[in-house]
Structure formats: C-alpha cells, structure tokens
C-alpha cells in the first residue's frame, strides 16, 4: 500500500512489517505512526510492505533495494537481521533502519535496540505498585488487600519470555510478596485464547494483567472489562488505539518507536545520516522507554505510582537494577 502521508517530494520511505503484520496496535503500528508523522512533516511518501512470512524478509529487502527509489527502508523486528547483514553490504548506498537490532560495522544501517526488558520492567513496577492501591473506575476495581498480578503473552517464545521475566523482576522490585501469574495464549492473532489466559488470571485473583501479545492483546482488555478488573498495554499508549477499552487500561509501558522512525526519517531528509547511523538505543536512559498513564486514568493515579516509577527508572539508569534478560531474549 503506497501513498500514505505526503506526496513524495521530500523522498520515499518503505517499511517492511514484522511477521505480526500491520494493524497490531503495537509494534508495527507504532513504528508506522512515527513514519506517518514524518511523512506529513517532510512530504515523504511511504510504501508499506506487509510480510508475515519471516522466510521472505530477505527477499522483500532485496526487492525494495533493487527498486532503488527508496531513500530509506525501515524493517520492523529482529527477524530481519539475517537478511540485512547481507543486504547492507550488497547495497552500500541504501539507507536502512532496523528496529530491534543493529548490524555491526554497517554505516548505512541505523540499528535501534529497544530495551524491551526495561519496558517490561517498568510495566512490572507499575503493576506491582497499583495492585496494592485501591482503584475504582467505572465498575472495575482492584483488591488492595490481595496482591496478585498477571502477565499474558502471545506466543511462548524466547522474545516474549524475556518480557515475562523482566516484568516479574519489576513487580518484585516493588514488593517481592506479590504473586505474578503468567500464561501464554499461543498466538499473536487469537485474541480469544489470550482472553482466556487473562480471565483465568483474574479468576485466580489478579488485579491487573499486562499483555505482550500484539494484536491478540485485545483479548486481555476484553477480559479485564468482563471481569471488572484492569489491564495494561504494551509498546504504545494503547488506551488511545483501543479506545473502547480505555476504561480498563490503567496505562501502557511504551517505547518511543514512533520517535525513532521520525528521527531517522528526518535525518535522511535533512541529509544528516551520521546522527542516526550505527547502534541506537531506545532505553530509559535515552528517554525512549517509559510508562504512560491511560487516558481515562490521568489524575486518578496514586502518587506512589509516579514515585516508584521515577525511582525504578533511576535505578535502571544507575545500574542498580540488573535485568536477567536482554531486550530480545534471556
């Protein structure tokens, strides 16, 4: 699908999705959002290439590079790494942006490592804090006396296992007596399955469930609504994208992917590649990772949340907290 954003006078940018595809309300959409902002701003034309077969990633990179008309090719997801190692060398004049990894020694690649572990850690801190608090909103409520939270993952893979572990570490950083229930729906697309996982956790006493399941995450929100509890979003402020569930989305752990894609596009347009070349980090330290309060909960959050989050971020930056898992696996 071409033609979003500007008319292309400012250049052309292509983006290849991760295997979850666009429309995940998370990872891919988040990256796309920054591009679209940049497109408006700089008159750039965007070409979206959705590729859900990881086996075809390398071929798509080549198709686009071969085409030659793109000033920048953005790739969502570390599964693009293998192909890019080859193609960054084969097409030295092509600018590439890789989200989730970087390619050693390739100047034409802007590799963005998002600290998913830090993001998950913050989600854990928020959940660990709020399960003790009394929150009551449009029929949903926490049970401050019981301290149980949940984690609902999509596929049970290494990447998401790292989310889980870091989340648990965040919860325990607040209070290691909090119980963390975990489960996987087995799919990034089957929201019913994730709904079950979350519901089961709510049944078992969880106040808040945080999901890391891309599109299927909607199931966790629906479960929160049905069970009069709460959920938290991932990657971007999901209370905006999932407006109908805004009343149960306490907040979201976010990574500023949109800012990253914006920034790289800007650099390309302004001929300032050096500023984004090589390894880049989306981390707490660089303010690329954060936690935002859900739309409907602004001003309703207890002060402890803000306090704990600030403290936790500082601890991460200072190296006081050492997470077991890296950004894409343990």
């Amino acid at each position: 699908l071409g033609g979003d954003g500007g008319n292309g006078d400012g250049g052309q940018v292509a983006i290849i999705s991760s295997d979850a595809g666009f429309g995940d309300n998370a990872f891919n959409d988040n990256a796309l959002e920054g591009l679209e902002e940049a497109a408006d701003e700089f008159d750039v034309e965007i070409t979206q290439v959705e590729e859900t077969e990881t086996a075809e990633f390398a071929a798509r990179q080549e198709d686009l590079a071969e085409d030659g008309s793109y000033d920048l090719i953005v790739m969502v997801g570390y599964q693009h790494y293998e192909g890019l190692v080859e193609h960054s060398e084969a097409y030295p004049d092509q600018y590439w942006m890789l989200i989730n990894d970087h390619v050693e020694g390739a100047d034409n690649v802007s590799g963005w490592i998002e600290m998913n572990n830090e993001m998950s850690f913050l989600a854990g801190v928020a959940a660990g804090t709020l399960t003790h608090e009394e929150i009551d909103h449009e029929g949903s409520a926490t049970e401050p006396d019981e301290s149980v939270v949940g984690f609902a993952g999509g596929e049970d893979i290494d990447l998401i296992n790292a989310f889980e572990q870091s989340y648990i570490e965040g919860v325990e950083w607040v209070d290691d007596s909090v119980d963390v229930l975990t489960g996987y729906g087995g799919s990034f697309s089957d929201s019913e399955a994730l709904n079950d996982v979350a519901t089961s956790q709510f049944d078992d006493g969880a106040d808040i469930v945080w999901h890391a399941a891309a599109a299927a995450g909607a199931g966790a929100f629906a479960a929160a609504e049905d069970n009069d509890r709460f959920a938290m979003g991932v990657d971007s402020d999901q209370s905006v994208a999932n407006e109908q569930y805004a009343d149960v989305i306490l907040g979201s752990a976010i990574k500023a992917l949109n800012e990253a894609t914006y920034q790289v596009t800007e650099a390309v347009v302004e001929d300032d590649w050096e500023s984004v070349s090589g390894e880049q980090n989306l981390s707490i330290e660089q303010e690329g990772i954060d936690y935002v309060v859900g739309q409907e909960f602004e001003g309703e959050m207890p002060d402890s949340l803000e306090g704990n989050l600030e403290e936790a971020k500082q601890a991460v930056v200072d190296g006081e907290v050492e997470l077991t898992c890296g950004p894409t696996g343990c």
């Binding site: 699908l1 429309g23 489960g183 079950d196 519901t199 089961s200 909607a218 049905d226 999932n242 109908q244």
Partner: protein, 349 residues
C-alpha cells in the same frame, strides 16, 4: 424408539467418560504439583470452557447435519472465517456499539454465510463438485478474502476494537454459588448454542426432517422412492451447515470484539476441530457438543495450568488438542460414516 443406535449411545457415554477423565487428570496433576484443585476447576474455568466450546459445537452440529445427509462439508473452517469477518464488517460499517448491534451483526453473518453456502451447495449438489476439494477451496478463500476485506475496510488485516457481546446477569440467581455464575451470569451466545444443540438433536432424531436427513445420507434412493426429494434435503442441510459455521465464527467474533486476520486468522483451526468433534460424537449433536466441550476443556485446562504455574512449554502444551484429535481418531477411527457421503445423487429421470 431408539434415540440413536447403540453405538451412538456408547459414544455418548464415552464422551461423558472422557470429560470425567479430564477432570480426573486435573485432579492428579494438582495433587502432583500440590496446587489446590479449586484453583484449577474454578467456575471461571467452566465458563471459559463453555465459551471456547460454543463456536466449535455450533460448527460441528452444522457439519454433522450436512454429512448425515450425505454431503461432507469440509469447508467449515472457511465458513467460520467468513462468519467472523462478516460480523466484524457489519459492526464496523454500522458503527454500532450496543448489544443490539452485536445481535444484528450475528444475524447478518448468518445471512451472508447462507448466501455463500448457497453457491457452494449448488456447486456440490448440482454440479457434483468434489466435496473435499471444494471444501478446501472455501478454506483458502476464507484465508484470502477475509484479510482482504479487512484491509479494504480498515487498512490492515485487523479490525479496530468493536462492540462485543456482554454477559447477561440475572439478579439474585447469579449470586447462587457455582450454578449461579455458570447459568445466570453467562454469555447469551452460550445459551443459544445449548438451545441449538438440543434442537438439532430433537430435529434429527424426533422429526420427519431428521429421518429424511439420515436416509439421504445412508440410502438416498430409498428416500427418493419414498417420495422425498433427496437433493432438496441436502441443500437444506448444507445451507444449515454454512449458517451454523458462520454463526460459530460470528460468536467467536462477538466474544472477542476484534477481528484478526493474520496467520490462520482468529478462527485458528476451530473449524477443523469441529469436524473431529462430530466424528468423535458419532454424528450425534449431543455427542458432538460433548466433544466440543472436551476440546474446550482441554484448552481451558492448559490455561489453568499456566495460571497456577504448572508449566511445560506453552507452545508444546498448546499442541495437546491436536495430539488428542489424532489419538481419538486412532482409537475410534472407524467412525461409521453415512454410507453415501460424497456421492452426488441423481434421481433416475
């Protein structure tokens, strides 16, 4: 009157036994891992099992009607996908948010499924299309056209959040322990499923139409010489199967509230499980529903295990239902298919 033949009776009992076996399995595991049984067999677990089983049971009942009458509708999975996307598209297009809109979407999904099945039925019955190949084609089409339509509507293969079906709650009754939340605080669609399953049983074994359906699948000539139009019976059952599968997909959507079209789509193999469910249920609607419950229970159980931290790899645990299907088919493989399944019927003149 035999409510079904002996073997079917036995099958029902087996289904019941299997359910009991699941519960027993849960009990053993909980003792092994030292988890309180009530943390696993919760009211919520029962509820979720019912919710998981509903779309499967609906499609299974539809599929068994078609097969009983001699037409193997292997396209259930595809029709479920069409049902889900239609319901989602309807909700999105009317921009509805109320429960009434959800019901409307379900009705539209049934209607569209009926229309699609009508074409399919003509191909199968009038043009004697190969039933297996055509059924697979429906699946392929579902996997292609549903995400395509989603892309046209929403720019991506995933719908935005849509209205979903809420549970009804009957005051006071819902407070009754155990039974209350299961019966009186429940998705109305679960109730619809139960009603349809029972109705399907009654129609199949207690009404003349049921007799005709059975005869059409076993000995169409006998039915023809009894003065009943075999192909009309078959058209009816195939249409019914499409409508039920479409309804199953719509129910899935109505519970989920979002259409997701990546990979195998949100239907994710439920239509296939539905076929196995009615085979396991020996073409008896009650048996099929029990089997659906069994699959729902297995899946629910696996989730419960995760929640209480009895975890093997989730990805491997997720394969249990598939392995279960193979085991079931191997043990009860020689399900007695209606004798004339797959054979187009042409009356002599």
């Amino acid at each position: 009157m035999s409510l079904a033949t002996d073997s079917s009776q036995r099958r029902l009992q087996l289904g019941g036994l299997a359910l009991i076996a699941v519960v027993a399995f849960a009990a053993v595991v909980t003792i092994w891992f030292d988890v309180a049984l009530e943390r696993i067999l919760t009211v919520g677990f029962v509820n979720r099992t019912l919710m998981l089983a509903s779309p499967i049971a609906l499609a299974a009942v539809g599929g068994l009607y078609a097969e009983k009458s001699g037409v193997f509708n292997i396209g259930l999975e595809g029709f479920m996908i069409f049902g889900a996307i239609t319901a989602a598209a309807t909700l999105s297009l009317v921009g509805g948010t109320t429960q009434l809109h959800v019901w409307l979407a379900i009705v539209v999904a049934i209607g569209v499924s009926l229309a699609l099945t009508a074409g399919y039925a003509v191909l199968l019955i009038r043009y004697k299309a190969d039933q297996i190949v055509a059924g697979l084609a429906v699946w392929f089409m579902g996997l292609g056209f549903a995400p395509f339509l989603a892309s046209l509507l929403w720019g991506t293969v995933r719908s935005p959040g849509l209205a979903s079906m809420n549970r009804y709650s009957i005051p006071y009754l819902a407070e009754v322990p155990v039974v209350g939340p299961i019966l009186f605080r429940q998705s109305p669609l679960v109730l619809v499923t139960i009603v349809l399953v029972v109705a399907a049983w009654v129609v199949l074994y207690r009404t003349r139409y049921g007799y005709w359906i059975q005869a059409a699948g076993e000995n169409p000539t006998a039915l023809d010489t009894a003065g009943v139009d075999v192909n009309r019976v078959r058209y009816a059952t195939v249409l019914f199967s499409g409508a039920m599968a479409g309804l199953g997909g719509a129910v899935l959507l109505a519970h989920a509230g979002t259409f997701i079209g990546t990979g195998d789509t949100m239907v994710d193999g439920r239509g296939w499980i539905a076929i196995v469910a009615y085979l396991f249920g020996n073409y008896n609607p009650l048996g099929a529903a029990l089997a659906a419950l069994l699959f729902g229970g297995l899946e629910g159980l696996q989730v419960q295990f995760q929640t209480v931290d009895i975890a093997v790899s989730g990805r491997l645990m997720g394969l249990l239902p598939y392995v279960g299907v193979i085991v079931v088919l191997t043990i009860w493989g020689k399900t007695r298919m209606p004798a004339s399944v797959g054979e187009p019927y042409e009356s002599e003149d």
